[in-house]
């Protein structure tokens, strides 16, 4: 078995007195899309932030590419899309992309082609020169996603990327994620849209600060004897209570 791209072991994270993550175990393998699902407030974003080194774990370990996080240099190999759009409003889409490309350390000669490519994936080519303040919510989300895709990173970490994006484009994005996976790159994606979870290679159910189930969608469905991930989720939640 190849080494895990992301490997979280017995992760514990507290905010003050509140223990958000009690014992999270999760591994993302090369060429894999892993979906992290859970109700809002379950700690999905916290898992991601800890994995990226934005938060420090109170227990357990987080390694990415075999190295302990936090690690600044590794960040150039990761494309991260936060749950909030986090864009510079007064800049145009292109200026946002260019700025983050520079921050990621993408070579000057490659920046232009990289921007063209990611804009096409999210269908923003025609709006790149508009200021972000004039974008709709969905457009901002797409721009935010395209920033994460810049520079073809080996690992994509996407926090609820498809919120506010219409179904047709959502399909297109999932197709793109699929082809990224087929290129041999890995993706960790959080979502609370259950039918999206069906499209992943492995699903992790985060509930009560723990990953209570982590397997392929098909396996989970047979295990819980239901026919959708949504039902798996509801059943798991019911069992926990």
């Amino acid at each position: 078995m190849a080494d895990a791209i992301i490997d979280l072991k017995h992760l514990v994270k507290k905010f003050g007195k509140q223990t958000v993550l009690k014992d999270v175990n999760l591994a993302v393998m090369p060429k894999q899309i892993v979906g992290l699902i859970g109700p809002s407030g379950a700690g999905k974003s916290t898992v991601i932030k800890t994995a990226l080194g934005m938060e420090v774990a109170d227990g357990g370990s987080a390694t990415v590419f075999g190295q302990v996080m936090p690690n600044r240099k590794l960040l150039s190999r990761i494309g991260y899309m936060a749950q909030t759009d986090a864009l510079y409003d007064s800049l145009s889409g292109r200026e946002n992309l260019k700025f983050f490309a520079q921050m990621k350390g993408i070579k000057k000669s490659e920046i232009k082609t990289s921007i063209e490519h990611v804009a096409k994936v999210v269908d923003l080519q025609d709006d790149l020169d508009k200021r972000v303040s004039g974008y709709s919510g969905g457009m901002m989300r797409r721009l935010s996603l395209s920033i994460a895709l810049l520079g073809n990173p080996e690992l994509l970490v996407l926090d609820e990327p498809t919120v506010g994006i219409d179904p047709a484009l959502r399909r297109q994005i999932w197709r793109e994620l699929g082809s990224i996976r087929d290129e041999g790159r890995s993706i960790l994606i959080t979502t609370h849209v259950m039918d999206e979870a069906e499209l992943t290679d492995k699903v992790a159910l985060l509930l009560g600060g723990k990953v209570i189930a982590f397997n392929e969608p098909v396996v989970l469905k047979t295990q819980y004897r239901v026919d959708s991930i949504e039902d798996v989720f509801l059943k798991a939640e019911g069992e926990l209570q």
């Binding site: 990226l52 080194g53 934005m54 938060e55 420090v56 936090p70 690690n71 600044r72 240099k73 590794l74 960040l75 150039s76 990761i78 991260y80 936060a82 909030t84 759009d85 986090a86 864009l87 510079y88 409003d89 007064s90 800049l91 200026e95 700025f99 983050f100 520079q102 921050m103 990621k104 350390g105 920033i147």
Partner: protein, 381 residues
């Protein structure tokens, strides 16, 4: 490279934010102009003085003092009536050899103007009296001399010329800086200039970083391999450039618009204000980490910014309690104010303010270090 890209981005954002730009560039000029109008007007306060029983020589001298008009009243009751009717600002009443002065005191500057004018009028009168007395004495001496033998007369004359000159004292005023119209405003200007630079850079940079934090762009930025120091330096570079333009504009406005004289080098003034702006920037960034909203950022102004003015040297500190004077040592505007005052008014060189500049640089280094460390809150490496 990344520092440069961050600088470029911050500048682009700023140039597109017309309101903040106007705040930074037009507001200081507007305020400076208003203050100059107000303080210049104040320096030519006209006072009306009522006199009762004052000798004509004193009252004539008083009348000759600029901006003072004298009205004679037959008795105190009339004078008081006039004061009540707001016709006069003070009453000078002479009984026997003593003067009693009554001030309306609704405007302290008028009161002190009357005090000054009265003092100088009295002195003038005394000098005149002395002059005439001296004249009498000299005549007597002259008569005495005539009765002396010729040899003794010569001796005396060679000893006396100095005395003759002393009999006609002349008062000429010398102004080290400016002229008789130099007022409070000119002395405040160096400090005020520093205050504007400090205040606007503090506010706008603090807000910018706050926005970067609350909108999530800071986290996103820190999710790239950028160094924390590159972010801080990028901000410093962009606000440094802005501060250079702001200072140039303020200095030019002071010279051309307000007609204030700058004896020393304008470039030195810009250098000092640039360092001050960087201190303000570092301070703004640091404080923005303690604020969760723009309103909370505004709350720092009355607590941390306005009090700085009082300790910065606008108000003379010499007579204050020593602990207050000690506070002024931690006020950045004080150091820039001292240096700019010296450069602007005395034409001193930048290098004679090594200490002030060093202190400012220490502020800068410490605050910058704290900022780079402070970003660890958002990314642990």
């Amino acid at each position: 490279m990344r520092t440069f890209a961050i600088m470029k981005r911050v500048l682009t954002e700023m140039i597109r934010d017309k309101r903040s730009l106007a705040l930074m560039f037009l507001a200081p000029i507007l305020v400076l102009w208003l203050m100059s109008v107000i303080f210049t007007a104040n320096s030519t306060t006209n006072v009306e003085v009522g006199t009762v029983g004052v000798t004509s020589s004193v009252s004539t001298n008083l009348d000759q003092v600029k901006h003072v008009t004298v009205h004679h009243y037959a008795n105190e009751a009339n004078a008081k009536k006039a004061m009540k009717a707001d016709k006069i600002d003070a009453i000078i009443h002479k009984t026997d050899n003593d003067y009693s002065l009554t001030y309306a005191n609704t405007d302290s500057s008028k009161t002190s103007a009357v005090k000054m004018a009265f003092k100088s009028a009295l002195t003038q009168t005394n000098i005149n009296q002395m002059k005439s007395q001296l004249g009498v004495a000299q005549k007597t001496i002259g008569k005495l001399q005539a009765t002396l033998p010729v040899q003794a007369q010569r001796q005396l004359q060679s000893q006396m010329p100095t005395q003759k000159k002393a009999t006609t004292p002349q008062i000429t005023n010398h102004y080290v800086y400016g002229d008789s119209s130099t007022g409070f405003f000119d002395k405040m200007l160096p400090v005020l200039m520093g205050f504007f630079v400090f205040f606007f850079v503090f506010l706008i940079s603090g807000m910018a970083l706050l926005k970067e934090r609350t909108s999530g762009t800071l986290s996103r930025l820190l999710a790239t391999p950028v160094r924390r120091s590159e972010i801080v330096f990028g901000y410093m570079a962009s606000y440094g450039i802005l501060a250079i333009f702001q200072t140039i504009l303020i200095v030019m406005a002071t010279i051309w618009l307000l007609g204030v004289e700058v004896v020393g080098s304008v470039i030195s003034i810009i250098v000092i204000n640039l360092i001050l702006a960087l201190v303000a920037l570092a301070f703004g960034i640091l404080l923005s980490t303690f604020a969760n909203s723009e309103f909370q950022m505004m709350q720092f102004i009355p607590i941390l910014i306005i009090p700085q003015v009082f300790f910065s040297g606008i108000i003379p500190m010499d007579s204050m309690a020593s602990w207050i004077q000690d506070i002024s040592y931690i006020i950045p505007i004080k150091y820039s104010g001292d240096a700019v005052t010296g450069i602007m008014m005395q034409g001193k060189s930048l290098f004679s303010f090594g200490l002030d500049i060093s202190v400012l640089l220490i502020f800068l280094v410490v605050l910058t270090f704290l900022n780079v460390r402070g970003l660890k809150r958002y990314r642990k490496v």
